[in-house]
Symmetry: C2
Subunit: 357 residues, 2 copies
């Protein structure tokens, strides 16, 4: 019986289809649980470049700031690949993360019994996997300056900068510990402390933060080893916390534990102000507009919104249960279908989940 | 009937055991094919810190430069983890790479029929995988300056720098194309061009280099996607080329395609001067000195040495065949053994391979 204002940013490619699906699911939840969700729409990414000349128009940002939560689809596509850096769709995504201070990106990876056949990994490796990647989202290589080309001694060189403030590292690690406390009480801090100065500071701060959480176990793992261990024995993990770029790589890799990127939701939390929810997949230009995309990652992202932004646990569980049930009944979009299984469209998948709620 | 001088740098932990094994294999090859291999030994890593006060003594470097090839074990261990940066074992490894100009790190990943049970991945995914990761080894985040902490506006910040010269990118990509030409004629250039300036320059140079190799196909792939595709469908790859840190992460991940890091050799090539050969695994302090380590990665590295540095193809094949045969006969070190299989020691494994040559 609450009233919530949700900013929807469909973005590009399949972003439009999957957010449409998630909005329908949220509407079904509103009806069943007697809430009022107001949806307001904004432009971001390539779409915004085409219509407003910038990947993140001010109106969009203002609208998001005045909402209770943001639901985002995906951005990008070949149409804008040759654009100069400031006119690239991804800049819109990076800008909204930065502007809204969305420093903590939560990417849960959960095993689905019914998708066992879709994963390239063996059953005993992935059965019962339940881990959470906490990715730092507003610092590191993504935002550090200088970033660009210059001439030095007659040679062209290019740099990007991996930069962190102490406080930025501290708050993301603290967030990871707080989340671990509510889970299996283990934090794996992933770094490259045998090479990078930033990682050595990261490790030091992790040790400091750990002192305030005596009930949570802390382990350090080098990023190359983590990339291996995620595949070798993912069940060893509870919460992984890592810097922006490492988190980007490891979470896409981890999607294979569930069989498809199309299954993984995410939440991006700010220190204060509204949070943003988005699937971890991209805009998939190759299948855009074909009613083929897997809407589940976005639908599960909206469940995270209900739980984390609105405190609506029952409602979140209702969505998650519905997804599980529909998968168990054998419905599959193309990305997770195996030979012989009937493939459903985006719309059919959404309808099934809606009917199940 | 050639004479070759090989510098052996055992390093720390299991580095000592695995290089010892590889030297025995090389000696067996020398006998059988009537070559003369002279082995000279040098200190590196923690061992060098303890005995010479530096992770890469000048004597070691001089000795390597005066050899025809270098065989390295591994460096590092908890004993030196609290040392200041310049007195860490890894600094020795990074320094020898830089000093000897070993810019191209070749990491082949090949499927072994007999190890199918050791991989966490399903058989249809990994069967017949045969890919080569070409990792840039002397630039990027590993070596860029500035790298360190400083105060800015009263806050402590830390930076590392991802830096490349145009020429550095060009030579590694050219190397990848040359190698692909002798293989399946496909290069996948891995970058993060939707975010990093360095990646945009990388992509641009890849396009330029590709023009000189009209017979080789070039594709670009974002690093997050590559981390996923390596697990999802590794057979799509022939040669992957990427910057230092991405290559570090992706090659450890890719080791799971063969079941163990203990299987993967590598070669590090310089523009001129001797090349260096080392397993991609680390010093594994937890099992060091226990006669448990898998010596195969180092033995296969010595096969790469014979082929790439000395042009001894038959001899290289003899080693590779022997490894294959011994695995097919069921011999397994602990890292690749499955329940019910008899586990052999490092020494037994070496003896078996030697007997087979
Ligand atoms: C689109 C891209 C900029 C983005 C990122 O790298 O953060 C995406 O890969 C993600 O993980 O959300
Ligand atoms: C030991 C470490 C410095 C090294 C690296 O990161 O290059 C290792 O992981 C490797 O891959 O050879």
């Amino acid at each position: 019986m609450g009233t919530y204002r949700i900013a929807v940013l469909p973005g590009d490619g399949i972003g439009k289809e999957v957010t449409k699906g998630a909005v329908e699911i949220l509407q079904a939840v509103a009806t069943r649980f007697e809430h009022e969700f107001e949806f307001v729409y904004g432009l971001i990414g390539g779409d915004a470049i085409d219509r407003k000349g910038t990947p993140l128009p001010d109106e969009t940002l203002d609208m998001c700031r005045q909402s209770d939560a943001v639901l985002l689809g995906a951005v990008g596509g070949p149409k804008w690949d040759q654009n100069p850096p400031h006119l690239r769709p991804e800049k819109g995504l990076l800008a909204i993360r930065k502007e809204m201070n969305l420093f903590a990106n939560l990417r849960p990876v959960k095993f689905y019994d019914s998708l066992i056949d879709s994963s390239p990994l063996k059953e005993d490796v992935i059965k019962d996997v339940d881990l959470l990647i906490v990715r730092e989202l507003t610092g590191g290589l993504y935002f550090g300056k200088p970033s660009g080309r210059r001439m030095e001694d007659g040679e062209e060189i290019v740099v990007d900068t991996l930069l962190y403030k102490r406080e930025e590292i501290k708050r993301i690690i603290t967030t990871a510990f707080e989340l671990a406390r509510k889970r299996k009480k283990k934090v794996t801090s992933v770094d490259k402390a045998n090479v990078l100065e930033s990682s050595r500071m990261w490790r030091e701060i992790a040790e400091e933060v750990a002192r305030d959480f005596p009930d949570v176990e802390l382990e350090h793992m080098l990023v190359d080893n983590a990339a291996m261990q995620l595949i070798r024995n993912p069940k060893q993990f509870d919460v992984l916390v890592t810097e922006n770029m490492f988190g980007d790589i490891l979470s896409d890799e981890a999607s294979m534990l569930t069989g498809s990127l199309g299954m993984l939701p995410s939440a991006s939390l700010s220190t204060s102000g509204p949070s943003l929810y988005e699937p971890i997949h991209g805009s998939a230009p190759d299948i855009a507009g074909q009613n083929k995309a897997n809407p589940i990652a976005t639908i599960l992202s909206s469940a995270m919104m209900l739980r984390l932004s609105f405190g609506l646990h029952l409602e979140a569980v209702a969505i998650e249960k519905a997804v599980q049930q529909v998968l168990a009944s054998g419905y599959r979009t193309a990305d997770v279908a195996k030979k012989g299984q009937r493939i459903v469209s985006t719309k059919e998948m959404v309808d099934e989940i809606k009917a199940t709620i």
